[in-house]
């Protein structure tokens, strides 16, 4: 999407033509965040799709030049709304599934320990760590997704890391 600042109004002008190019690179991240909330791949895809539709409808309200935090926040809200809906309780999967390991050097037991601990974290803590440590988002941008201040984001990260520290330290010792 072509974005330009309007000096008269101070608003960010958006142009429809490039909307898909703006949203498409963010779809996978939106899907991953929705998956953390819903624990179901199809439902997460649906939430990502609904986020794209809402983003299109609300693109005129966007103030940020970089749409990442804005779009992922919409996706997170869509996923939460989907979980609240009565429909979801009818079709949802039992729990958050394990999506598979990517590091062949660690033992399965080590990984499962940490995965189990991460799974027990609150949804917000888990999403905090994913935004910062797998998506490598800056704190300010990640804060937008969760509706926090940058300072609030940093303290949430500290608290989440404190909860899993014994497991991380255990790995270091081992």
């Amino acid at each position: 999407m072509a974005v330009s600042n309007n000096p008269a109004t101070g608003e960010v002008a958006t142009h429809e033509a490039g909307f898909e190019h703006l949203v498409e690179p963010l779809m996978h991240r939106a899907y991953q965040i929705a998956f953390q909330v819903l624990g179901d791949r199809e439902a997460a895809q649906d939430a990502a799709q609904e986020a794209a539709v809402t983003a299109w409808q609300k693109q005129g309200q966007r103030r940020e030049a970089d749409p990442t935090g804005w779009f992922l926040r919409i996706a997170l809200n869509k996923a939460r709304a989907a979980r609240r809906r009565r429909w979801f309780s009818v079709i949802r999967s039992a729990s958050l599934p394990d999506a598979g390991s990517s590091d062949p050097t660690e033992t399965v037991a080590e990984r499962l320990d940490l995965v189990a601990v991460l799974r027990r974290l609150s949804e917000k803590d888990r999403i905090t760590l994913i935004l910062l440590h797998t998506m490598d988002m800056p704190h300010a941008q990640a804060a937008t997704v969760l509706g926090l201040t940058e300072r609030g984001m940093r303290s949430r990260e500290r608290r989440a890391l404190a909860r899993i520290r014994p497991y991380l330290e255990g790995f270091q010792d081992g």
Binding site: R41, V90, T134, L168
Partner: protein, 215 residues
């Protein structure tokens, strides 16, 4: 946190997130594009136009998908359109709920299912799905027909759709009659307008001619 711990954390978090290849991004983006093109961008115009010239609306939804925003938006647009059209009667609407075989318990498929019975888990799931979608999309439960339309394997309850169509046929006729009457009225209005315009033309022509002859 040292680099090794960071890598371990990243690996464990990756285990909690679906791998990139599990989502066909271009496919999903294309789905979004089509959804936007067909519905939202034109304010559901095409949908309203179709409903406007229909005797009955069969709205088809999958029981296996939770996304309802587009369905809700489209149905709201249709209802709003007919609410504003006081001389029109909204065509009756039936919701056909497909993929009921994908409801829990997933492995069970032993029709027929008595939806009034609470003894079988599948019956309870189908009933719960109908009640949930009734609330979300504003359909009375008795206007929702659960079906399996997997023709290659075993279609189920499709006959009930026909039965419901027949049941609602009197309403359909009423909708059609009122639509035709509205069309006739608007056609008459055009006729009247043309005849008034033609008369006005004759008057102007007559006035000009009489003016020329007197000059």
């Amino acid at each position: 946190m040292d680099d090794r711990a960071k890598e371990r954390l990243r690996a464990a978090l990756n285990a909690l997130t679906p791998p990139a290849h599990s989502l066909a991004v271009p496919e999903l983006a294309d789905r979004c594009r089509r959804t936007l093109d067909r519905t939202v961008r034109d304010g559901f115009d095409a949908l309203i136009q179709a409903a406007d010239t229909s005797d009955m609306v069969l709205w088809v939804c999958s029981a296996a998908r939770a996304a309802r925003a587009i369905d809700a938006g489209g149905l709201e647009a249709i209802r709003r359109h007919f609410a504003a059209e006081t001389r029109r009667y909204r065509p009756p609407m039936i919701l056909v709920l497909t993929h009921i075989d994908a409801l829990r318990p997933f492995n069970e498929w032993e029709p027929p299912y008595d939806l009034a019975s609470t003894t079988r888990a599948k019956s309870r799931s189908i009933r719960a799905a109908m009640e949930a979608i009734s609330v979300e999309l504003g359909f009375p439960v008795d206007h929702i027909v659960p079906v399996r339309v997997d023709i290659a394997v075993a279609p189920y309850n499709v006959d009930a759709v026909w039965a419901k169509i027949i049941e609602l046929t009197p309403e359909t006729r009423r909708a059609r009659l009122l639509r035709v009457l509205a069309d006739i009225r608007s056609a008459s209005a055009w006729d009247a307008l043309w005849s008034q315009a033609a008369s006005a033309g004759r008057v102007i022509k007559g006035a000009l001619l009489s003016r020329n002859t007197t000059q």
